[in-house]
C-alpha cells in the first residue's frame, strides 16, 4: 500500500513536467527518461521478477514499432488502432518465443542466446521483406494531429508515454502484491522448489514474458510515432535489447522503482558524456558496457539497493533487511 502511494506521488510529480518545463529540449529529456523506464520495466517483469534474462527484447519492441508503422503506411490504418495492434502483436511474438523456449526448459544462458537469435532473425526478415521497407526503412508521413497520434508539441507525446509508463509500473506494483508475482519470484529463485509446491512454472513464465512483450511493444509503438522513422537496425538491433536490460540492472533488478532510477541514472551519464566528449558514434554503447561492468561488480542491487542502504526501511525488531522485490 505504501508503495502504491509512493508510486502515485512519483508519477504525479513527473506529471508536473509539462506545466513547469518550458524548454522543448528539457521536456524531450523527461520523455526519453520515461521511455527508457518503460523499456526497462518491461524487461524487469521477465528478467527481474522472473529471473529469465532476455538478450532479445528488441523482438517485441521492433514488432510493436513495425506494426504501427506498417499498418499506417501500407494499409492506412489509424495509429491509435495501430497502438493496440502493436501491443497485441508484440505480446504474440513474446508468447511464441516463450513457448519455444520454456516448453523445452531453456534456462540461463541458453534462454538468453535463443532470445538474441529470435531478435536477429526478425531483424534479418524485416531487412528483406518489402512491406517493412526492407533495408531502406519505413518513413511515417508527417501529418500532425492528435487524432493521428502525431502531436505538434512535445506535451502530447509526454502524456502518451506518461500513461504507458504508469501502466507498466502499476502492473509491476500489482505483481509484487499478487499470487502471480509470488509464484513468478518463486520460479526465479528456485524453479524445482516452486514446482514441488504446485506452481505451474511454465504458465507463470508465459504470463511474465507476454506482459513483458506487451510493454516493450508499446515502447516500440511510441518510438515509431515519436521519431516517424524505423529501419531494421533501429527496431530489431541489439541496442534496444541492451538498453532494456541495462536500465533495470543499473536501477535495481526485481524492484518496482529500479527501472526509473536506472533510466534517470543512464540519461544523466549519457548527457554528461555528450558534454564531455561530444557525439562520437558508438560512444553510448561503450559507456553502457562500462556502466554494466561497474554495476555488476560493485552494485549488484543497483541504485535501488543503494537507496535502501542509505535510507533503510524501518524494520520490525527482529527482522533483517529484505530487498527481494520490495525496494
Amino acid at each position: 500500500m505504501k508503495q502504491l502511494v509512493l508510486l502515485g506521488l512519483v508519477f504525479a510529480v513527473i506529471g508536473l513536467a509539462p506545466f513547469v518545463i518550458s524548454s522543448e529540449f528539457t521536456l524531450n529529456l523527461v520523455i526519453m527518461v520515461l521511455y527508457a523506464a518503460l523499456l526497462g520495466q518491461a524487461w524487469n517483469i521477465l528478467g527481474g521478477y522472473g529471473g529469465q534474462f532476455s538478450f532479445g527484447h528488441a523482438a517485441y519492441f521492433g514488432t510493436g514499432a513495425y506494426t504501427v508503422a506498417v499498418l499506417q503506411v501500407q494499409l492506412g490504418i489509424n495509429p491509435w488502432l495501430g497502438l493496440v495492434a502493436g501491443g497485441v502483436m508484440a505480446m504474440l511474438v513474446a508468447a511464441f518465443i516463450g513457448f519455444a523456449t520454456f516448453r523445452y526448459g531453456l534456462r540461463g544462458s541458453y534462454f538468453a542466446l535463443v532470445t538474441l537469435a529470435f531478435a536477429e532473425v526478425l531483424r534479418i526478415l524485416s531487412n528483406s521483406v518489402p512491406f517493412t521497407g526492407a533495408g531502406v526503412g519505413i518513413l511515417i508521413p508527417l501529418d500532425q494531429s492528435a487524432a493521428n497520434f502525431q502531436f505538434a508539441s512535445k506535451q502530447g507525446f509526454f502524456w502518451v508515454i506518461w500513461v504507458m509508463t504508469l501502466a507498466a509500473f502499476a502492473t509491476v506494483w500489482w505483481i509484487g502484491k499478487s499470487r502471480f508475482g509470488a509464484q513468478l519470484m518463486a520460479v526465479r529463485d528456485n524453479e524445482d522448489a516452486a514446482r514441488a509446491l504446485g506452481v505451474e512454472a511454465f504458465k507463470v513464465k508465459m504470463g511474465a514474458i507476454m506482459l513483458s512483450g506487451l510493454f516493450s511493444g508499446l515502447a516500440g509503438v511510441f518510438y515509431a510515432q515519436y521519431f516517424l522513422y524505423l529501419d531494421p537496425y533501429i527496431a530489431y538491433g541489439p541496442a534496444i535489447s541492451i538498453e532494456s536490460l541495462l536500465v533495470p540492472i543499473v536501477g535495481g533488478l526485481g524492484t518496482l522503482f529500479g527501472p526509473l532510477l536506472g533510466a534517470i541514472g543512464l540519461h544523466l551519464i549519457s548527457e554528461a558524456t555528450r558534454e564531455l566528449i561530444g557525439d562520437l558514434p558508438g560512444i553510448s554503447l561503450v559507456i553502457y558496457g562500462i556502466v554494466l561492468v561497474i554495476m555488476v561488480l560493485f552494485m549488484p542491487r543497483g541504485l535501488a539497493g543503494l537507496v535502501r542502504r542509505l535510507w533503510p526501511k524501518p524494520a520490525p525488531a527482529k527482522a533483517q533487511a529484505t530487498e527481494g522485490g520490495h525496494a
Binding site: 499478487s178 509470488a182 529463485d189 528456485n190 514446482r195 514441488a196 529484505t322 527481494g324
Partner: protein, 248 residues
C-alpha cells in the same frame, strides 16, 4: 492412498530404482530406509514427477499419476521436501511459506497470514522476517517442512528432514512431524536417523541398490540379515550370528 508398482529407473548403467512396489496406507507415518545411494531420493523423485520412470506406475488416491509433472501432483495433494534444502533465497521465511500457501489461496494477504500460522506450527514463528538464506541448517529444514505443509497436502514425502541436525534439534523436530500426522496428513519419510525411524514410523521399507530388500516394523527390519548386510557389508550378518551363538 499411494500405490507404487514396479518402478524402474536407470541412470546410464546404474539402476537407481529396480522394480520397486509399495503401498502407503492413509493416516500413518511410514518410512523408507537404506544405505547411501540406495535410491531413496530417486524413488521420491519418481513418485512426485521429477523423474519419469522407465517402467512401472504410481497411483495416488486411486488415480494413475504416472508421468504427471510435479506441479500437477502437488495440486492433487502430494508434496515432497528436498534432502538438499531449496529455499527461495532472498525472500523472507514468511514469503517462502506463502508460496506453498498460494496453492489454494488466491489472496496475497491471506497467504501471508496462513504462512505465519504454519511457521508457528513448525517453530519458525520468531523468524518470519528473516531472509531464508540466513537461516541455520535446522531452520532451513523446518522451512522445507513448513512450505510443504502450507500447501494443505494429503500426503507429504519428507526426504531426510532430520539430517544435519544435532540431537537436541532432532528432539525438537520429531514432535513437529507427529503433530503433522495428528492433523490428518499421511507421511512417508526417508531417514538415516534410526532413533527417529523407530519412534515415528509404524512400517518401514528397506531399499538397497535400487531394490526393496525388506519391510515390516522398524524393530523387525533392523534385525533382518539382508538389511544388516546392506548396511555393514557382505558376510556381516553371518559373523554377527556366529558371534552371538558363541556368546550364548
Amino acid at each position: 492412498m499411494l500405490e507404487v508398482r514396479g518402478l524402474v529407473k536407470s541412470f546410464g548403467g546404474v539402476k537407481a530404482s529396480n522394480n520397486v512396489s509399495l503401498s502407503v496406507p492413509e493416516g500413518r507415518i511410514t518410512s523408507l530406509i537404506g544405505p547411501n545411494g540406495a535410491g531413496k531420493t530417486t524413488l521420491f523423485a519418481l513418485i512426485t514427477g521429477f523423474h519419469k520412470p522407465d517402467a512401472g506406475s504410481v497411483h495416488f488416491l486411486g488415480e494413475d499419476i504416472t508421468g504427471l509433472p510435479p506441479e500437477k501432483i502437488a495440486q492433487r495433494g502430494m508434496v515432497r521436501t528436498f534432502q538438499i534444502v531449496q529455499p527461495f533465497a532472498g525472500q523472507t521465511v514468511r514469503e517462502n511459506i506463502a508460496v506453498g500457501a498460494h496453492l489454494h489461496v488466491q489472496s496475497r494477504a491471506d497467504a501471508l497470514e496462513k504462512a505465519e500460522d504454519v511457521a508457528g506450527k513448525v517453530g519458525l514463528g520468531d523468524r518470519l522476517d528473516m531472509d531464508a538464506a540466513s537461516l541455520t541448517v535446522a531452520g532451513r529444514k523446518r522451512l522445507e517442512v513448513a512450505r510443504a505443509l502450507a500447501t494443505d497436502p494429503k500426503l507429504i514425502l519428507f526426504d531426510e528432514v532430520l539430517a544435519g541436525l544435532n540431537p537436541s534439534e532432532i528432539r525438537d523436530v520429531i514432535p513437529v512431524i507427529r503433530a503433522v500426522r495428528e492433523e490428518g496428513v499421511t507421511i512417508l519419510l526417508i531417514e538415516h536417523v534410526m532413533q527417529a525411524v523407530m519412534s515415528l514410523s509404524e512400517h518401514t521399507w528397506v531399499l538397497n541398490q535400487g531394490a526393496l530388500i525388506a519391510e515390516g516394523t522398524p524393530a523387525d527390519v533392523v534385525g533382518h540379515p539382508l538389511v544388516v548386510e546392506a548396511y555393514l557389508g557382505k558376510g556381516m550378518a553371518e559373523r554377527i550370528a556366529k558371534r552371538e551363538a558363541h556368546h550364548a
